[in-house]
């Protein structure tokens, strides 16, 4: 599903942070176009 997709990452400081998700997405080969880590509170 993620193949050839552009991925926006909304990580969470208290959950899974952006850089951790980024590493996962890179392992698939999808293109990360924006990655951030926010506090959802």
């Amino acid at each position: 599903m993620l193949e050839d997709k552009k991925v926006i990452i909304l990580g969470d400081r208290d959950g899974v942070p952006g850089p951790a998700i980024e590493e996962c997405i890179k392992s698939i080969g999808a293109e990360v176009i924006f990655s951030t880590t926010e506090c959802f509170v």
Partner: protein
């Protein structure tokens, strides 16, 4: 969702088109994760940010949802997400994100 991030996502959706974009979230709990899914699909429910009333129709998934998790290399996933997955209420997060997607984007 952070207002600056809403603005950025709006720009990117306009630039690339909704069909080419997938949003992946890492929210700590179900309700906040559902709100993020709703915001990029149907607009900011708080009517506070640039996505207020803007229905981007983007598909968003939590990284722990099987649609995403199953595509990630298992070793990388364990290293990057494994620890957090043990403390997150994964079942509640999956149920909430699915429910919001079905509500605003139809059945998945």
């Amino acid at each position: 969702m952070d207002l600056g991030n809403q603005a950025r996502i709006k720009e990117l959706a306009e630039k690339y088109g909704k069909d080419d974009i997938v949003v992946i979230i890492g929210g700590a709990e179900a309700e906040a994760s559902g709100l993020a899914v709703e915001t990029v699909a149907n607009g900011d429910p708080a009517f506070a940010g640039p996505l207020a009333g803007v229905q981007l129709g983007l598909k968003a998934y939590h990284v722990v949802e099987p649609e995403i998790k199953d595509e990630i290399d298992a070793d990388v996933y364990d290293e990057q997400v494994g620890m957090m997955e043990m403390v997150l209420d994964v079942d509640a997060i999956i149920a909430e994100c699915r429910s919001i997607r079905e509500q605003f984007l139809g059945s998945e």
